[in-house]
Symmetry: C2
């Protein structure tokens, strides 16, 4: 995050400025949960006296509170420091292609209210964001929270984001959103609130990092396989965004130089060969060629093209063609991940997104693909699993993203 703190002050213009040592304490509690003063001092390498002073200031500012229930540590009882839930509130927004999820949380990231409704991003940014603002305002009003107590909003969107500026870039599934200033729009309504926009995969990785399988894992990757394919990267317990904020955009890595043409113009991209959309296309083709009775039945009964969900359903019915499509996709994804494993050597890969509903065959194929092409040392301690958070990864991550940007260290 450090690079954004320094370079992109606009992102933090509504953030609360904290002295650097106070900021580090807050950041540590966000990342690793409640600590005693002693454990905080040890983790940050501060003296006990220095830590006592810093904590005193944070308690005086009503940012931290001491736990009423002390936790015993080795005989002595140490009071745990945690966030004061009443310091303020955050909103997490998870915008999908066809729906929106919103969660209101307190300063401890505990959910106070949750909201879900269908919302088609193809309505365009004005209509969609106005509706989101309406839901947000209604939610605050219902809970008697004045707007100036809303500290930050975190928003995950299904497309590549210029993180520093809160703008969507060439979003393939969001026509009309290109370069739309999402942050500015939200901030016009909530001028005192920090607004953070990130792509959905980074947000999901953030959710896993904060409360899922990624807790306490130093380096891991979250891979979303849905209509497209993308990855969120965690390095040293933080989202790694790269130099332009577009790290993890793995959908256009080439997997077969003789493969089909992708919508990006290149050939053999993993997204063109193994995403949910690609699987649906392959199933459609098989149905039209009468290669599978089950897929043909779906095809004949439907009014639109086949979907990835129908490929899964056909596989569950035992259709060998659908199963083959799923396995081939998994293997190809595994082969691309093998290259990433050789380069990045993570200890965990979490797979999320709609296609994970295809069942264990898909995961097994990914694992085989990775193992067949990675170096033995890289996979020695590597775990590859489905995300266990399901749809919660996105909304939990949006809350965490919001909470992480409430404060900014003194320059």
């Amino acid at each position: 995050m450090s690079q954004y703190h320094r370079q992109h002050t606009d992102l933090f213009r509504s953030s609360v400025v904290l002295p650097s040592l106070q900021y580090k304490v807050v950041d540590t509690l966000r990342t690793f949960g409640p600590h005693s003063r002693t454990d905080l001092a040890r983790r940050l390498g501060y003296s006990r006296a220095l830590m006592t002073g810093i904590v005193k200031e944070l308690i005086e500012r009503a940012i931290l509170v001491e736990g009423k229930d002390a936790e015993s540590t080795g005989g002595r009882r140490a009071r745990l420091l945690n966030f004061n839930p009443d310091f303020g509130y955050v909103l997490g927004v998870d915008l999908g292609a066809t729906s929106v999820d919103m969660t209101l949380a307190d300063f401890r990231e505990q959910c106070l209210a949750r909201f879900h409704e269908p919302l088609d991003v193809r309505l365009g940014p004005e209509a969609v964001l106005n509706r989101i603002l309406e839901i947000a305002q209604n939610t605050l009003d219902k809970h008697h929270i004045p707007n100036d107590k809303l500290l930050s909003i975190g928003i995950g969107v299904p497309g590549p984001v210029d993180f520093a500026n809160g703008i969507l870039i060439v979003p393939p599934i969001m026509p009309g959103w290109e370069r739309y200033p999402i942050r500015r729009k939200i901030q016009a309504h909530f001028p005192e609130t920090t607004v953070v926009v990130d792509n959905d995969v980074n947000v999901m990785a953030m959710g896993e990092l904060r409360t899922g399988a990624g807790q306490n894992v130093e380096n891991f990757i979250f891979v979303k396989v849905g209509t497209g394919i993308g990855a969120g990267i965690v390095v040293h317990h933080q989202i790694y965004r790269g130099s332009n904020g577009c790290a993890g955009d793995i959908g256009h890595i080439q997997v077969d130089r003789n493969g089909p043409v992708c919508h990006c113009g290149n050939v053999g991209c993993i997204e063109a060969m193994a995403s949910g959309a690609a699987m649906a296309r392959q199933a459609q083709q098989a149905a039209m060629n009468h290669e599978s009775a089950i897929l043909r039945r779906y095809f004949d009964s439907g009014i639109e093209s086949l979907t990835a969900e129908q490929v899964s359903a056909a596989a569950h019915e035992g259709d060998p063609v659908a199963l083959k499509i799923i396995q081939t996709s998994g293997t190809l994804i595994g082969e691309v991940l093998a290259g990433i494993v050789n380069f990045f050597n993570p200890s965990l890969i979490l797979i999320g997104g709609g296609v994970t509903k295809s069942g264990t065959q898909f995961l097994a194929a990914i694992r085989r693909g990775v193992l067949s092409r990675s170096l033995p040392l890289s996979t020695q301690h590597l775990r590859i699993d489905y995300s266990s958070m399901g749809d919660d990864a996105g909304i939990t991550g949006a809350i965490a993203l919001a909470a992480e940007h409430i404060f900014v260290p003194e320059p």
Copy 2:
């Protein structure tokens, strides 16, 4: 580095333990060079008073000194803090396949003596390391440096390293070295010295990070194209080693699923298709098939197989077959790097290793390969260049690696 500090205390058993805040000051000066107290306080977010205290202790311990020549900053003259050159000494060792380079440096990483001699790693670890110890001891004796003033030794070796344990793993070009405990061997002779072993590519990346084109670049990759292909990764101004210490091992990323079989057992690895060894093999084949008069001449006049150097020489003579081999290798490497660029979004890629002597055609082909397959946003601020440090990257990096491990923060 943090994970190694905590997990692998053996690596640091001879390191000097510093209180955490002192360690951070030392670490900052190593990474970013001399600072005034004010600039240090600003960078680390400490108060001026706290910083004055920390610096006082470090000066009392003879670790830091105040510059005699003050540098003017905005009207006032601030004294720059730097390392005390006499605090101790470090040795950097760059072990290649057929030679060794060694540099003795003071605590400021300034070179005091440099040594080079042919040394074939195929002689095996005992013979090679005994010779290295002999050179090291002679160098110290000649400069009247007692062994207990040698604070650390950094060693780069041409193979994959288990960094935590200082052991080579399955080194393809170093028969007899597998799992040989290099660190233990060196430390038996220099028991009071910290010994750090890393693979040559990480060490070269470290050299670029410290004094080359990688200075002040937050995220970059150093790619070595020699007999093999490997990468060193820098994240947030630090070498990123991954979960098992083997991050950057990109030589076996698949570039063509219909490509040749690699010595690792897989097909179409970039190393099997575009390394110096692969280029030499392709040239050899062309010479045997009489496809190139120039390569045939080299072939007929030689007693061994053609080398990558001869492919370069033939290309310099204008041989189209040699040029084509070089361009194809560059393009393939560029295509693999394109995938890495999409995933990692670095702002700089530095290319080093023997094959860079092939000239600008090779670099141009790599750039084309990257641009043809990367997403436009990822390459917006991406620079791809040859390393300008040449052979100095390795030895400078070995010194920096050694210096970085002199101290360890209090647990």
